[in-house]
Amino acid sequence: MRLSLPSKFLLWGATAATLAFIYVPILVVVLNSFSTSKTLSWPPPGFTTEWWGKAFTNAGALSAISTSLVVAAVSTVIALLLGTALSFALHRFDFFGKSTVNLLVVLPIALPGIVTGIALNNAFRTMLDIQLGWFTIIVAHATFCVVTVFNNVFARLRRVGTSLEEASSDLGAGIWTTFRLVTFPQIRSALFAGGLLSFALSFDEIIVTTFTAGSGVQTLPIFILDNMFRPNQAPIVAVVAVVMILIAIVPIYIAQRLTTTDNR
């Protein structure tokens, strides 16, 4: 579009300001993890790697990281199974209540986290009398991770169509052979991308987690939240926060590369 010089100037200025607004806070966390100040004061009075060393020997932080990795891995496996089955059902079949099922998949992530959290908390504690812990966190995470796998696999199924599978069964291959040799290779990268996104989503989740974790199990976000308000832990929290950014962004980057190269 043709723009007058002042409006062009204004637009680029607003864009630059918005990008600064988005990235400065994240940058500040990264810099604070190297700051000698314990109170997040700015500008950092000095440079130190002390907190990085301390964070990597902090037993609480390390066990929280491994807890989060296990929870994310198990929930992702469940989400992969359920999400893939659902996407095949919704793509290959027409049935009564299809749109309701579609809504049902999106609901856990569309409703505010606090509603999902308290609903599950209430169901586990008062209705089913289940002690909050590993089991309840994983059930909760898997529930909202299904949608990311579903979205990726469903989009892929829609794109590749069914003609290759029909050719395969015309040539005499059974359902299993066709799945193993034709369908699975076609959706493999979508499964991988969906799985990575679901892993990152679970690794980061805090709202639903606080309602389903109980007091015994500490995931990394809960560790951060608990330590954020303790006066001397602020720099260690900054280090763990930077680690979280790295763990979340790397899989997302890979997932995005995968989906964009596929689409070419």
Binding site: T15, W42, A89, M127
Partner: protein
């Protein structure tokens, strides 16, 4: 003679013992589409229905129960005390108003920030710059929510970055409180608002903009009369995110809100500290109700198809 004729068909099907079961299953499934559908649907529906829908229904039911004030046990005693308390108490009125006010403010701030950058991405930038900007907007979407809230805690803190930036011109950080919460929430949901507006702008044909400027309209006028009416559904789609997410938030408010109470913090306090699940359930029905009303209102605009 008989042995030869009976083994011949088997040889055609190759090693009968290994393949027959799988083959039979395959043939059965191939012929029975309904069984295939049932197998695919049963596990996910069982999971989502049992875990999620049952939990939501249970939440609604629990709101009508009470807690024994001595033992802390939940008593199945049907009454509407919690509901009337939530609807009648001045505290809940004030907190609801504050939360809705925060949600409206956050939404307005996000739309104001999103419009220029989305417009530049969709209509001004070259394809390369556009791709780079989309990635730049998407990346922080996946950075941890908690880390971003924590970042604002350090920005807003005493002697923090905002104090340092505003100090020379005589300003200071708003500190932890309502203003800090609104700023942080606006930051958190910004990418959710930019993306649908960007998508809506991309759909506006360039020829309309050219025609408008050929007819002598300046940039501002073209935007007001041509672009804006066309992207209203996109703006509303974005507002659903910022509005609904703000209503349901409690972590960010706890981190940067100081003593500010929102609906989310009230729900959390009732679950954790006060151990009054029925009351918490009743409170959580407020944001749920507001969101359903909001969705009902915006459904008429067709914005839901833009999500």
């Amino acid at each position: 003679m008989t042995t030869v004729s009976s083994s011949a068909p088997d040889r055609v099907g190759e090693s009968p013992t290994r393949a027959s079961l799988a083959r039979r299953g395959s043939v059965f499934l191939y012929r029975h589409a309904k069984v295939r559908l049932a197998l695919l649907l049963s596990a996910p529906l069982f999971w989502l229905g049992l875990v999620y829908i049952a939990a939501l229904v249970a939440l609604l039911i629990t709101a009508f129960w009470t807690v024994d004030s001595f033992t802390g046990e939940i008593i199945v005693d049907w009454n509407i005390t919690n509901i009337t308390k939530v609807l009648g108490d001045a505290l809940y009125h004030a907190v609801t108003l504050r939360t809705v006010g925060a949600a409206v403010l956050v939404t307005l701030i996000d739309i104001a920030i999103a419009l220029p950058i989305a417009f530049l991405m969709a209509k001004v930038a070259s394809p390369g710059v556009q791709r780079a900007l989309v990635i730049a907007i998407l990346m922080p979407l996946w950075a941890s929510y908690l880390v971003k809230a924590y970042a604002w805690r350090s920005l807003l803190s005493q002697d923090g970055v905002i104090d340092w930036m505003l100090g020379p011109i005589g300003g200071e950080s708003p500190g932890y409180g309502f203003e800090g919460s609104v700023l942080t929430l606006a930051y958190l949901w910004l990418p959710f608002v930019i993306l649908p507006i960007f998508t809506a702008l991309e759909r506006v044909p360039d020829s309309l903009l050219d025609a408008s400027s050929d007819l002598g309209a300046k940039t501002g006028r073209t935007f007001r009369h041509i672009v804006f009416p066309l992207i209203v559904p996109g703006i509303i789609a974005g507002s659903i995110f910022s509005f609904s997410l703000t209503l349901g938030d409690y972590i960010a408010v706890r981190i940067v809100g100081g003593a500010t109470q929102m609906l989310g913090t009230l729900v959390y306090a009732n679950v954790g500290v006060a151990n009054n699940l029925p009351l918490a359930a009743a409170v959580s029905l407020i944001p749920l109700g507001i969101i359903f009303i909001y969705l009902g209102v915006v459904r008429r605009t067709g914005a839901l198809n833009n999500l």
